[in-house]
């Protein structure tokens, strides 16, 4: 026991967090990591694809794409060039809840990079003549899913498992992407790119007072808006086969879990870790190691603010797909019989290592603290999380599993033939 306290005493892992919420609702949250040379940011804007209007699936993604095509005094080329000259490694993505912009570079360049992103938020050009280019980028991404069946089955699984709009793929729909107008893009930006509910996480070698003042100057008077929440509609069919001409059959299985902020979060994710974390986990051992059924098999925990699930995947040759599905479902059901102490020990070791190693990456931390703020409204130290993990016991995990046994599965398969789902 007390793995963490002992270890933390040895490494003297001092964490310094800061947070500041501006009057318009924007929260800036920071972690100083003075040993690093880099600094990173993660900006979560509450403009996810859950807010795509009916028949406009993909509007959030196209708005994100168009926002990169010029803002403030920069056209799209200057935007990219200036960020690259700052050495910024950047990425942007759209999830159900957020449009996220993130980047990492040498610490001294972070303020300048943030300044450029402020233009994107507040002074985007949305050039009408580039709409078709942006549209084509989004359409290419949507089409490419068809050539990646493993990706496709998991998108279709989420779509069916969660009530709409919470399982939508951010890539959108062809129908929506083909018809979106520049006015709709501008309107989406105006409504949903807003400070209230937005979170900016910064981590690395940062000078907190300077970053806080800079963000205050640049975004403190950014006006908010209160758009309507999306309507939640019941999910569709829970068992579905999608015909696909391929060697392998892709299998996706989902069942319900508890969200990040739930008091049983550590028990829930602990159970997933026993199923699929490391090569000694149950799914890897039973499906791949003992039977050689798959190259890839896993279960992963997926959380939104108010709902969560465990998403499982296996891909195998069509003639062995039935056995793979049976063995995988068997392992999920067997979880209800409880976990063993040696499984718990390995789980704790893995979580502990991952926590410590996060401290080696500013990008990883800027993302974590922004997401923690989104889910909890605060940031926990490694020590606090470590204590929670130390407190985990087989009993507490088994109690959780007994109360939430894996079942009521959503199953989506993709391949040449449908499979039977044993009761």
């Amino acid at each position: 026991m007390a793995l963490y306290s002992r270890f933390l005493a040895e490494v003297d892992l001092k964490q310094t967090f800061y947070s500041h919420t501006f009057t318009n609702g924007l929260t800036l949250v920071g972690e100083a990591m003075p040993a690093l040379e880099s600094a990173a940011f993660t900006l979560l804007i509450p403009a996810g694809c859950a807010f795509d209007p009916a028949k406009r699936g993909g509007l959030s993604t196209l708005t994100c794409e168009m926002s990169l095509r010029g803002s403030g005094e920069r056209d799209s080329r200057k935007f990219v060039e200036d960020l690259e000259n700052l050495g910024l490694q950047r990425s942007e993505s759209v999830s159900v809840a957020h449009t996220a912009f993130s980047g990492a570079t040498l610490a001294a360049n972070l303020p300048a990079a943030l300044g450029i992103y402020v233009d994107l938020l507040r002074r985007p050009h949305f050039p009408a003549e580039q709409l078709d280019s942006g549209r084509m980028v989004a359409i290419q991404e949507l089409r490419s899913i068809e050539d990646d069946p493993a990706h496709k089955v998991m998108l279709e699984l989420r779509r069916r498992h969660y009530p709409d709009p919470w399982g939508r793929p951010s890539e959108g729909e062809m129908e929506g992407l083909e018809t979106i107008s520049i006015n709709e893009v501008q309107d989406f930006h105006r409504r949903y790119y807003r400070p209230n509910g937005a979170i900016l996480g910064v981590a690395g070698k940062i000078d907190w007072p300077r970053i806080r003042d800079l963000v205050g100057d640049l975004l403190g008077d950014w006006p908010g808006s209160i758009p309507p929440e999306p309507m939640t509609v019941a999910a569709g069919a829970k068992i579905e086969h999608l015909a696909h001409e391929s060697n392998q059959t892709q299998i996706g299985i989902a069942f319900e879990s508890v969200p990040f902020r739930h008091p049983d979060y550590f028990q829930a994710t602990g159970a997933v870790g026993v199923l699929s974390g490391g090569m000694s986990s149950r799914l890897f051992t039973e499906v791949r190691e003992k039977r050689g059924l798959c190259y890839s098999v896993y279960a992963s925990y997926h959380t939104l603010k108010d709902r969560a699930s465990v998403l499982c995947y296996a891909g195998t040759s069509a003639d062995r797909a039935q056995e793979t599905l049976d063995v995988t479902l068997g392992e999920l059901r067997r979880l209800a019989l409880g976990i063993e102490p040696h499984e718990l020990d390995r789980l704790k070791a893995r979580v502990k290592t991952a926590l410590i190693m996060q401290q080696e990456s500013s990008s990883s931390r800027s993302g974590s603290i922004a997401r923690e703020w989104h889910h909890l409204g605060r940031v926990r130290t490694v020590e606090e999380i470590g204590r929670k993990v130390d407190e985990l016991s087989c009993d507490s995990i088994n109690r959780y599993i007994a109360a939430h046994p894996p079942g009521d599965f959503t199953v989506v398969t993709l391949g040449p033939q449908p499979l039977q789902i044993a009761a």
């Binding site: 050539d147 050689g292 502990k352 080696e360």
Partner: protein
């Protein structure tokens, strides 16, 4: 940051970049063997063997191996390329010795028939998985055609047929020949206690019987050609191209890396502005790889089949233009900022440094700090880039196009 190295009596090298401020320890055994060291009779054996290494030793079952790594909370894996097979783990510093002992033990695997038969199914599933993801397969064909007859033309995975037909005795023979101590380097990065590392290596690997293994290093200038492969089930059309490039030991490798960044980085490059920004292609990138005794520039493009013909022409025009006009100072500066920043960010984690330090050593028997590499990048001039293009024109390619298209005019 301190570099240390030694060589055991049996020829196994131990090297480490020690950083006392790091939170974690990264360790890896770099075996200098891969697809290029195979013959037709054992095609795919290097990668299959990499899987078998985790299947147990005289004193450990496969379950023991997986369990012991997980007990340490290790972040561990292995990969096989054309030229090397690497077994690596990142752990908390307290597990340094235990990790070396475990990795060293699995590098003397039992290679039992029963495990071999089960794992063969996993490898075949891996091949079938990629087979359902176009343009898989075309890259191997392009490589074979480009390196025609050269060892670097061999496929890492092999095919379901070659792997299916492989007998365990052939794998054991290959192992004996290639996994000798002089062909293996133990690499450490991050928080490393070097004297304990050497002690552990001596105890765990000192008894390995020394022998010699060789690798042939014929030159290769690369073949030219164009092939259209029809794949009805694909949605997008894919272009894979290879052109000759500086080798991993050529001082021009830094200029080649910057050239590929200027011309074909996934953002802000010439291919990006020509094809990706306007939405003409989903991806259009140019990468540089240096090998022992040869090198290659790889082009990868994916797009709507209807636009493929025009896009292939545009790629060629981009390449011809840079060959005739060179690159500007501004472009070079932008590429340097990008590559240098990636290098620094990637080096913050010990497991990032592990591969860089290991690669410098296995290719060139040298240590280069992050600063050394930053300086080398900084020193590249537009004239260096011009020289690389002259010696290795990007437009002289072996090209494979795969997807729904049934016919296309060869770009001239």
């Amino acid at each position: 940051m301190q570099f240390q190295h030694t060589t055991l009596a049996n020829g196994l090298a131990v090297i480490a970049e020690c950083d006392d401020d790091a939170y974690s320890t990264a360790l890896g055994f770099f075996v200098q063997t891969g697809a290029r060291d195979e013959t037709d009779a054992v095609a795919g054996v290097s990668h299959f063997l990499e899987h078998m290494v985790f299947k147990g030793t005289p004193t450990r079952s496969a379950d023991d191996v997986n369990r012991e790594f997980d007990e340490m909370g290790a972040d561990y894996n292995a990969f096989t390329s054309e030229e090397s097979t690497v077994y690596h783990a990142a752990v908390l510093p307290e597990f340094q010795t235990r990790t070396v002992e475990l990795l060293a033990d699995i590098l003397r695997p039992s290679l039992r028939q029963e495990d071999f038969d089960t794992e063969k199914k996993v490898i075949i599933e891996e091949i079938r998985m990629y087979d359902d993801q176009p343009p898989f397969g075309a890259d191997d064909q392009c490589r074979a055609a480009f390196f025609k007859g050269h060892p670097l033309g061999r496929s890492v995975l092999g095919t379901a047929t070659t792997v299916g037909a492989l007998p365990v005795e052939e794998m054991r023979r290959y192992f004996q020949e290639r996994y000798c101590p002089s062909n293996i380097t133990l690499v450490g990065a991050g928080r490393i206690d070097f004297s304990r590392l050497v002690d552990a290596a001596e105890r765990a690997c000192g008894g390995w019987t020394p022998s010699q293994s060789t690798r042939t290093l014929p030159g290769s200038s690369g073949q030219e050609g164009f092939q259209l492969l029809h794949k009805e089930s694909a949605t997008q059309e894919y272009l894979i191209e290879m052109a000759a490039a500086p080798s991993a030991t050529d001082p021009d490798r830094y200029a080649a890396k910057l050239l590929s960044t200027i011309v074909g980085d996934d953002s802000g490059s010439r291919l990006y502005w020509e094809l990706v920004d306007p939405g003409r292609a989903e991806h259009a990138v140019l990468h540089y790889y240096g090998y022992h005794g040869a090198g290659a520039f790889f082009t990868f493009l994916s797009c709507d089949p209807d636009q493929a013909e025009e896009n292939v022409k545009s790629v060629l025009q981009v390449y011809r233009r840079v060959e005739s006009d060179g690159v500007s100072e501004a472009e070079l500066d932008q590429a340097k900022s990008k590559v240098q920043s990636r290098l620094v960010l990637g080096s913050e984690r010990p497991r990032g440094r592990l591969f860089v330090v290991g690669s410098h050593w296995t290719y060139r028997r040298e240590y280069r700090s992050v600063r050394d590499d930053l300086d080398a990048l900084c020193a590249v001039t537009t004239e260096d880039i011009r020289r690389v293009l002259k010696r290795h024109p990007l437009s002289r390619t072996m090209s494979y196009l795969v997807g729904p298209l049934k016919s296309m005019q060869t770009p001239a």
